[in-house]
Amino acid sequence: MAYAQLSNISKEYQQVKVVNDLSLNIYQGEIFAIVGPSGCGKTTLLQIIAGLVKADAGSFTLAGKLMSSVDENIYINPEKRSIAMVFQDYALWPHYNVFGNIAYPLKIKKYSHSKQKQVVGELLELVRLQGMERRYPHELSGGEQQRVALARALALKPMILLLDESLSNLDANLKKEMQEEIKRIQRDLLLTVIHVTHDQQEAMSIADRIAIMNQGELVQVGTIEEVYRFPRTEFVARFMGDSNLICPKQDNPAEMKLWKMAGQNLINGKAREFESEQILVVRSEDIKLSEGSGHLTGQIITKNFNGSVINYKIKINDYILKVQAMADSCYEPGQEVSFSIMRATCVCADNS
């Protein structure tokens, strides 16, 4: 049974469908990531879940309780939903200091002052900000502000925590640290988390399951591995990781050849008669390079050393193939190589 259930949610702004007939189930205790390009409606979706924006259609159930339903004309105000949210730019109140910001939800619930102090102290310890109670938001760095926002969101032990690109303003190291922290907190408190981001790398490193969103619709939902290995559409394939998309183009013999080659190693669909319309996806790490001449050869045009791996671009007549190889491979630009495709998946074209 889904813990949070969105059914057929739609929202329009000025005749543009920002969220389009969207349904989604989220289970208790999981970190669920929603990724998609900027402007695809992620924030709007979160706000609908939180009750800050009213959907035009559809319903939302949380822990078996109907939170909003357009058909039944039910709408629970955001303050009654026990959902917490860390906003895209934190939304710390400038006129309260750190203590005031974190204690506000407790104040609303009429906690005694000593109790407030105790809870805030615990939260500050949780987000590692002890001793900063008296600082005002403008006296904090971006990362500290973000952790205050997180502490504030956790103050009332919410049923669900919504994170709206809350890590996107942090530098790489801090981001990693915060990801760990969120995971730790989530495990400690058995939280259900919905994490929205446009960075697929970030989503992959934090989430249990993931949904790819585009233009107000969910294109694919599944575990990280599923979505990575078996992208359903061209859009998902492009969005997740480095892939080569290969179309059966009659006027490009090299690509046609590649397509046929990839088709023999198809891991989904049927290898037999993948028809002329199918687009094939080959991950850059699923290609193996070897020296000398083989069935298909190409010339290396760029080499990009990236620590643990090396990224090559290989030119095969008119087609540029992206290949990821081990760091100990030693091909140089200009060199002729042959290669073989280990694995390929077929996806639907976006405009079909």
Partner: protein, 564 residues
């Protein structure tokens, strides 16, 4: 449950409607009703008669005095705009773009010039250049001149108003220069243009919208000036529209007073609308958000002459008038010998303790000002709330009605109030309330504008964050919105209060025995003559309060968002 939610939504909507209705009603009564009565009366429509005609305007225009006063008004407005523009603009450029030394001191002097009310500046100039003024006396004693300099002329008004208004130009253009994109100027220099060429073809065009809008504001403010025009112009029979309205009302010539008010309102309104349009245009100008520091232009061999010039001008505009006022306020009697035994504190004792009218006037000004500022602050904040946070159809109209008084000169407001509140059902004439209500109307724009900026800057997400934290809608307004806009409310309150301390035309035309204000006191003392030493003491007091007020704005009017 279903019903419960519906009623909640309804409750908010009906509450919105109620608040909107109430505010609209007050605005109609305080702002629109008096002006409507004035305009209708000038067109021949009143409670007693309904014969629509332009006869009052026809009569006004066939009187040569009206034509002359219109001409004079336009003449001084143009003169002041040019002079204040050159002075303020030049100083702004010198201080923000060149390596002029002593910038801090110059800024303080300009700020002090801003703080002296125009009427008080005129008094200082009379004390200096009047027939028996210090300057003329000294000059005569030393036989530099035979005839004393005469400041009782239109040019005298221009000089005094220009000195009063140039700090506005300075502040506006300084911030425009600070925000305009320096890299464009650098590009021009790289393209081979000289400094002067760059100034004229890049810098000035870039800030042209600001120049235009501040120029229009100065023009409008000058048209509305009353105190200076009265004290400088009337002795030599030089009328402008405001003083013409005043003497027509004094002579109980209501048709002339209303028709002249109509004309002045039209001119002022027109300029105000142009000013607003220019402000709106300004928003689209590309501004530089990363504050780049400009490369300061070295003055080189011009340094000494420029510094002495600027110092000389600012001494004349600020230090000498201030010094004169302070000096005179300690004199036993105006016109006495300038010697040590003629110095006394008696004037200060008089205004604080002995002279009953003076004590009352100070008390009245403070009470009326504080009362009106408080009413305007609450009303203004409510107006801003309605225009930003509700979905009422008339919300923009409400905001417009509340800022419109900026376009109405105090003199016109006073005539309108006289007509509006003299008859039942609203018989407030000859009570303090008529002054307070008119103050409220005059203060509303300050209250609205100062709060509006903060409210529009405020990210609605802050309220959402409160809702998510468990606060109801009203609670989030109370805990988050109100504190965030509070600095604006405070600033608006102080500005309103200072306006009430300094203004003359409203109270001089609406006061009755017992409701005199500082403005009335100063204005009347001047006509009694021989009161200059007491006026000076009052002036020093007003200036002191204004400085304190501005320091308070500086200190508490800043929101935390702007950082420390």
């Amino acid at each position: 449950m279903l019903d419960l939610i519906k009623t909640k939504e309804c409750k908010f909507n009906s509450w919105q409607l109620l608040m909107g209705g109430l505010v609209a009603l007050i605005l109609i009564l305080v702002v629109l009703y008096p002006l409507a009565v004035l305009l209708l009366y000038s067109l021949g429509v009143s409670v007693h008669s309904f014969d629509f005609s332009l006869v009052k305007y026809w009569d006004a225009f066939s009187d040569i005095k009206t034509i002359i006063s219109i001409k004079n008004t336009l003449y001084i407005a143009t003169g002041v705009t040019l002079m204040a523009g050159l002075l303020g603009g030049g100083l702004a450029w010198l201080i923000s773009r060149t390596d002029l030394p002593g910038k801090r001191i110059f800024r303080v002097l300009i700020f002090l010039a801003f703080v002296i009310p125009s009427y008080i500046l005129a008094v200082a100039w009379i004390e200096l250049f009047g027939r028996n003024g210090f300057f003329n006396r000294i000059m005569k004693e030393w036989h530099f001149i035979d005839e004393p300099i005469n400041i009782y002329s239109l040019e005298g008004i221009i000089i005094i108003m220009a000195i009063h208004l140039f700090p506005l130009v300075f502040m506006s253009l300084s911030s425009a220069l600070k925000m305009s994109d320096i890299s464009l100027e650098k590009a021009s220099r790289l393209a081979g243009a000289g400094r002067l060429r760059t100034l004229l073809s890049i810098t000035v065009p870039l800030i042209m919208p600001s120049i235009l809008s501040i120029g229009l504001l100065v023009f409008q403010q000058t048209m509305a000036c009353f105190g200076v025009a009265a004290v400088i112009g009337l002795p030599s029979g030089k009328y402008i529209l405001t003083t013409r309205i005043y003497s027509a009302l004094n002579g109980l010539d209501l048709p002339m007073a209303t028709a002249s008010s109509g004309i002045l309102l039209l001119c002022s309104g027109l300029v105000f609308i142009l000013h607003n349009i220019s402000l709106r245009k300004k928003r689209y100008i590309h501004v530089n958000s990363r504050s780049q520091t400009p490369e300061l232009i070295p003055l080189g061999r011009w340094k000494i002459p420029v510094v002495s010039g600027v110092a000389g001008i600012l001494t004349l505009t600020t230090l000498i008038p201030l010094g004169t006022l302070i000096f005179s306020s300690f004199l036993k009697k105006w016109g006495m010998e300038l010697s040590l035994e003629n110095f006394t504190l008696i004037n200060y004792r008089a205004i604080f303790m002995e002279q009953a009218t003076a004590v009352r006037a100070i008390r009245n000004s403070i009470c009326f000002g504080a009362g009106a500022a408080s009413i305007a602050a609450v009303l203004g904040a409510t107006v801003v709330f309605i225009s930003n946070k509700t979905r009422l159809k008339s919300r923009k109209a409400i905001e417009f009605a509340a800022t419109w008084p900026l376009a109405v000169p105090g003199t016109v407001m006073a005539v309108a109030a006289t007509l509006a509140w003299i008859n039942p059902p609203f018989k407030l004439y000859a009570t303090p309330w008529i002054i307070i209500i008119t103050y409220v109307a005059a203060c509303l724009p300050f209250a609205v504008r100062n709060v509006n900026g903060l409210m529009q800057e405020m990210d609605p997400v802050l309220e959402n964050a409160a809702r998510i934290s468990g606060a109801s809608r009203f609670q989030s307004y109370q805990d988050i919105t109100l504190p965030v806009i509070m600095p604006g409310i405070r600033t608006g309150w102080i500005m309103s209060f200072l306006m009430a301390l300094r203004e003359i035309p409203i109270s001089i035309m609406l006061y009755s025995v017992g409701s005199e204000t500082i403005g009335v006191l100063m204005f009347n003392m001047r006509s009694d003559s021989g009161g200059l030493e007491t006026i000076s003491a009052l002036a020093v007091l007003v200036i002191l309060l204004t400085v304190i007020g501005n320091v308070l704005i500086e200190k508490f009017g800043k929101s935390r968002m702007e950082g420390s």
